[in-house]
């Protein structure tokens, strides 16, 4: 029994497939720019003696003749692999020019040859260690072609990154998301200048990437307002609170510029405050209390615990300009916040902060893993609304809110909670998980899968152990070693009732009907591929007979 035909058949299949998918390769191929690269490379290609196997020559001829057409390079580039990888795969290391041929069909052929299921046309003759198929002329294009596909791919793979930058940059979105809070508190505009001045300190600090990204975009917009900022500061330094009115007017002039940046400035300033709470405290008590108050109040507007009579006075003075009871509260809130920060700083504590964060009200986003973000603003707004309707929003809640935010920042500074005692870290995490699960959050998906796994592992499930174990074992055996297997179509599978196999099934002597139903089968198969004993055979028709 010989399988001489197998090689030809397989080659025909390979060629047919390659021909069939060529168009697809072109459509999915590299950009036109690759064409130039290809041309360059082709000029530098190395002349090699050529004796091409059918598949290779087909591809080569096509490459050579049709490269000039703009559509071709794409397919061509896609067909070839990158050079270094090819080297590893080449079964004939001494024939360097085989590299060029490492296209899909060549890979395919090589792998087939390694299986050694038959003698293939492209295989080297036993006496010739070097395969005659070594494509010489085509090889040159291969190395050349290698870069194009990679380039094309890198473009596609890189594109997500480049696009990710704009996505991750909150600055574009911030004007929108932060616009609301800003509008609610026009007085905020003033705070921005101060924030900018203090930013250098924040910039040097390890900041969450999101913040860094945010700061970059803000720079260009911030710059225009620097002059105004300085003017405001100068006014304040000179005249203190007395200059509030003029400052307000100036800031209003800058309002449009400043509003867009207020969100960022505030966020950054929050960091700054966290990190330099002391410094700010000093400055507040000295000359710029109003400005700093403005920066912070958007987050904690409800806090009304004036600590220093002086500041109350300041609030009263500024009230007309700010034009709303809401804006008064922010100032007071700031003082409150300062106190909180002092406490926090003294207790220090990321740990406590973390715990408090766990208890934090639900309007803190559960999924917030990257520190304070735009969501914080949403939360503040919600709370403000709540306050507007019901004053019940207690100090405790507000405090918790503050704690949570500060905790987030502290966590950020200390490297994501790595320095926490394991106990507390896990405690917080479990808390979060529980909350997420209770809220039906996204983490539920994981839960579901876990359950599924459990079921899968359940031995008590209603299954037939016999069927499963036996079949699986046999199937695995067959599939794994690619051992004796026949893949084919069936024309007929019939039971032959009249053929009795008494000798083979002696026990069925007593039950003739059983013999009839079970017994002897005959099948007609066609278009098959048979793998037996490491060799492959193909057949057009096959008839088989077997007893069960």
């Amino acid at each position: 029994m010989s399988n001489v035909h197998v090689g030809q058949v397989y080659e025909a299949v390979i060629q047919g497939v390659i021909d069939a998918v060529r168009v697809d390769f072109e459509e999915n191929g590299v950009e036109d720019g690759v064409l130039e690269d290809l041309k360059k490379v082709r000029q530098t290609r190395i002349p090699v003696p050529v004796s091409l196997p059918a598949c290779v020559s087909m591809r080569t001829v096509w490459v050579e003749s049709e490269l000039p057409r703009s559509g071709r390079p794409s397919a061509f580039g896609s067909l070839f692999k990158s050079l270094p990888r090819c080297c590893e795969l080449t079964p004939f290391p001494n024939t360097a020019f085989r590299l060029d041929g490492l296209t899909l069909d060549h890979k395919w052929q090589m792998k087939l040859s390694q299986l050694n299921v038959a003698q293939f046309p492209w295989d080297p003759k036993p006496e010739q260690p070097a395969p005659p198929a070594q494509p010489a002329a085509p090889p040159a294009p291969a190395p050349q072609a290698a870069p194009p596909p990679q380039a094309a791919y890198t473009q596609s793979t890189l594109s997500p990154q480049t696009s990710a930058q704009p996505l991750s940059l909150p600055n574009i979105n911030q004007p929108h998301s932060n616009g609301v809070p800003v509008k609610q508190e026009p007085g905020l505009v003033r705070s921005e200048p101060v924030a900018i001045k203090q930013e250098p300190g924040a910039g040097s600090q390890p900041v969450h990437p999101g913040y860094q990204n945010a700061s970059h975009p803000s720079l260009p917009t911030v710059n225009p307002s620097i002059a105004a900022t300085r003017a405001v500061q100068a006014l304040q330094n000179k005249y203190g609170e007395g200059a509030a009115a003029s400052i307000a007017s100036m800031s209003n002039g800058n309002g449009k510029v400043g509003q867009g940046n207020v969100g960022q400035a505030q966020q950054q300033q929050q960091q700054v405050q966290q990190q330099h709470a002391q410094h700010q405290q000093h400055s507040q008590h000295q000359q710029h209390p109003q400005q700093q108050q403005y920066q912070q109040h958007p987050q904690h507007p409800q806090q009304q615990r004036p600590q220093h009579p002086q500041q109350i006075q300041q609030q009263h003075m500024q009230r007309p300009q700010q034009g709303g009871p809401q804006q008064l509260t922010p100032e007071q809130v700031y003082q409150r916040q300062m106190q909180q920060q002092m406490q926090q700083r003294m207790q220090l504590q990321a740990q406590q902060a973390q715990q408090q964060r766990g208890i934090a009200p639900n309007n803190l986003p559960n999924a917030q893993t990257d520190g304070p973000s735009d969501d914080c603003w949403e939360a503040v707004m919600m709370r403000r609304n709540a306050e507007g309707r019901a004053v019940e929003m207690g100090r405790v809640e507000i405090d918790d809110h503050l704690h949570a935010q500060i905790a987030a920042r502290a966590k950020q500074m200390e490297g994501g909670g790595l320095m926490l005692p394991l106990k507390q870290a896990t405690k917080v995490r479990s808390l979060d998980n529980r909350r997420n699960r209770a809220a039906g959050g996204p983490s539920q998906v994981d839960g579901g899968e876990d359950d599924m796994n459990d079921e899968d592992l359940d031995d008590d499930a209603i299954n037939s152990d016999l069927d499963d174990s036996d079949d699986n074992k046999e199937d695995d055996d067959e599939d794994d070693d690619m051992g004796h297997m026949m893949l084919c179509m069936y024309d007929k599978v019939q039971r032959v009732k009249n053929k009795w196999c008494v000798s083979l099934l002696p026990r069925n002597l007593y039950n003739i009907s059983d013999t009839n139903t079970l017994g002897y089968r005959k099948c007609t198969l066609k278009d098959g591929v048979l793998t037996v004993n490491g060799k492959e055979y193909v057949f057009h028709k096959a008839t088989g007979e077997y007893e069960w």
Binding site: M1, V21, K81, E474, L487, C488, V538, Y546, W548
Partner: protein
């Protein structure tokens, strides 16, 4: 079992299909081609194999053995045959295997589509 094109992906499990899948996997791993393209190649492969086997193969084969397991599910016959003897229609001798698995799809259904 039948692909959109009406051809079975049965032959992907043979050596020809496995090697093709392997090669495609490598190309995908190298990011030389997109997975979707690989899937297209495989569907083309289904078609080409079926057609090639139909048109180019003339050999006939007979085999005998004892049936160990048979299964008929979704128009797919699966036989596990022991002590099989294969004979091609020449007089080139026979091949013996102690265990052969036969996976067979309906030829009629294939023709219909």
């Amino acid at each position: 079992m039948a692909a959109n094109t009406g051809f079975y992906d049965l032959y992907r499990h043979g050596s020809l299909g496995l090697t093709l899948t392997d090669a495609l996997d490598e190309l995908i791993g190298d990011e030389s081609i997109a997975p979707q393209l690989a899937m297209k190649v495989l569907t083309q492969f289904d078609r080409v194999v079926a057609e090639t086997l139909q048109e180019k193969v003339k050999q006939r084969l007979t085999f005998k053995g004892s049936l160990d397991t048979y299964r008929f599910c979704d128009e797919v016959w699966t036989f596990l045959i022991r002590n099989v003897t294969f004979k091609m229609d020449g007089n080139q001798g026979s091949v013996v295997a102690d265990k052969v698995k036969i996976v067979s799809c309906s030829a009629k259904r294939n023709d219909d589509k």
